[in-house]
């Protein structure tokens, strides 16, 4: 941490010591012609060192775009139009990823922040062996020989509990099952010891039994290696299992962030509450005689990012809506210890 002391920059001041990444009021839009898809429209979230922040939200809420913004890997018409992405490097310096030159960004990808994606089937290049793909990553960031890189790659495969690692190095992705490939992706991501791992729905495409394997693995790796994880999912069950902290996204915004127990115990945003109520729960949804009770769905649909309602974007579906919600967008305000909520009426919950 000497670096921090010797070269205090204005950025470090804004980032507490235990925070690895903090996105502040991040706006990422897809601009086509005159229309802008405001996919990320004011995301503020914090990832703490050695912890897992789970980002949940329904499809289209901007989870992936947020993570790609952090990696600066947005597809063509997408642009970060506003906001900061403060990241604390391993040497302690803090940089704003939103404005970092591409060249420096490249050094960060893979080395500082690594990423795994939802589709294990397509995320690996079908034309190269998995060994090559892991070695490529290692040699991009570290001056090691092929031989050393191969040793490291093998160790990585062993780390993610792939049996017969040496043999697997020379296999192609299509020779492996989905779960196996996702392990390879994790090995690849971890091969340069990143400080932050972004996992965009890494288990959604997998079967429950495999999902359990992977979640278990990630939990264990985090414990052993001590990296931070930004875990994106839409499954609240998975969140409950893996997260230390949770950020809930709705229509491009984080509407609530809180430690996981606090969030599930007492959600402080009507959307979060609604989400939890949607999930069938045998104890809750059965009458005493065993007859099923109806679920409690959130009415209506997620608004289109091309056409967001003014004010609180959740207002059209919110049971607590009041006139003010439709005119004015609430900010993300403290609603308890370490608990943030973007609702004017969070006290009511």
């Amino acid at each position: 941490m000497a670096a921090v002391l010797s070269a205090p920059s204005p950025l470090t001041a804004t980032l507490p010591e235990d925070v690895v990444l903090r996105a502040e009021d991040l706006h990422t839009h897809f601009i086509v012609g005159e229309r802008a898809a405001k996919s990320v429209d004011g995301v503020t979230l914090t990832v703490r060192r050695g912890e897992t922040l789970a980002v949940v939200g329904e499809s289209g809420s901007g989870k992936s775009v947020t993570s790609l913004s952090i990696m600066r890997l947005l597809a063509h018409p997408g642009r970060i139009v506003r906001g900061k992405i403060l990241y604390r490097m391993r040497d302690g310096t803090v940089v704003d990823l939103a404005t970092l030159p591409e060249k420096r960004m490249r050094a960060i990808r893979g080395k500082e922040i690594a990423m795994i994606f939802q589709e294990p089937m397509t995320s690996l290049n079908p034309l190269y062996t998995v060994g090559d793909q892991i070695m490529e990553m290692i040699r991009l960031h570290e001056p090691v020989s092929r031989h050393e890189a191969r040793q490291r790659a093998r160790q990585m495969l062993e780390l993610v509990e792939i049996p017969a690692a040496e043999k697997r190095l020379d296999q192609y992705p299509h020779e492996m099952s989905g779960g196996m490939r996702q392990r390879v992706m994790i090995a690849l991501a971890l091969s340069c010891n990143p400080a932050l791992l972004i996992a965009d729905e890494p288990t959604t495409a997998l079967d429950v039994t495999i999902q359990a394997q992977i979640l278990d693995l990630m939990r264990r790796l985090q414990r052993d290696i001590g990296m931070s994880i930004l875990f994106i999912t839409h499954n609240l069950g998975v969140v409950a299992e893996i997260a230390h902290e949770v950020a809930v996204m709705y229509a491009g915004r984080v509407v609530e962030q809180a430690p996981v127990e606090a969030l599930f115990a007492r959600p402080r945003h009507p959307y979060t509450k609604g989400l939890l109520a949607c999930i069938p729960n045998p104890e809750r949804d059965r009458a005493a005689d065993g007859a099923r009770l109806m679920l409690n769905p959130i009415p209506g649909n997620v608004p289109s990012v091309l056409n967001l309602p003014p004010g609180c974007t959740y207002a059209p579906r919110c049971p607590l809506v009041e006139p003010r919600c439709e005119g004015e967008a609430p900010g993300l305000v403290p609603a308890g210890p370490g608990h943030l909520s973007r609702c004017f009426r969070h006290e009511l919950l």
């Binding site: 960060i108 990808r109 893979g110 994606f117 995320s123 690849l188």
Partner: protein, 313 residues
Amino acid sequence: MTRYILQRLLGMLAVMFTVVTIVFIIVRIAPGDPAAVMLGPDATPADIAALRTRLGLDQPLVVQYLFFLGQLIKGDLGQSIFLDMPVTRALAERAEPTFFLTLFSILIASAIALPVGILSAYKRGTLFDQTVTTFAMFAASIPSFWLGLVLIQVFAVRLGWFPVAGYGGPDASFLTRLSHLVLPAVALGVVSSALITRFTRASMLDVLNDDYVRTARSKGMGEFRVVMKHAFKNALIPVLTVIGLTAALLVSGAVVTETVFSLPGVGNLVVSAVLRRDYPVIQGALLVIAAIYVLINFGIDMLYILIDPRVRY
């Protein structure tokens, strides 16, 4: 892998067999007695009858077909009426210019198309991309004979850089002969580069959106390497198919181009054969060209083994 090769091999044979059948049918739908047509109007009825027997035309169609197959297996494509030589020899004599013409056109086309297509996909939506796309479409709209005429006017007649026509005399050195191929190869190459460019671009566009390209970027890799190593190699798989197809299409482009440039190639031979009603030559050329097409495709299937581990499996 053996299985893959065997499968392709069987597929190739099946297609070849069908090709032979189609050619057999095409020649049979020609109105009139093939023997009479083959021998020309001067033939006596006795000659015609003799040829009918030799070709088995007096047999039922099935027998004729089997006979035709039998001849083919022996490598006998019949006798040219006009040229008074076996069709195989006539074709062999014309093979060289056509082969080199096709080869050069493909090289020219690929040399233009691959880099331009990649860049255009990479910079999609930019002015460069639009220019390339429009230009490619424009090039694909030019009749190759028209382009040939223009090239002759400019580079052969006005500037005198290249010969106007032909393939050199009897003692023309290999280089001289090749110099005759420059203009036609350019004419063909430019037109077919359009197709390959567009295809490369489309294929690259597909691939550039693929997840593994994003994975490569997330590793912190430079753009050039991402595009060339990860994207292009994948994009190459369908592009190769198109290059193979183009190679075959060029043979047909060659039909026109060879005529414009008076190149004594297979294409020219076909056109002359049609004008001379030299059916055995038409039949033979059709067969050989289709066979080349099938072979090129087979070759490309085999190339896949080198590139794509999935088929190696």
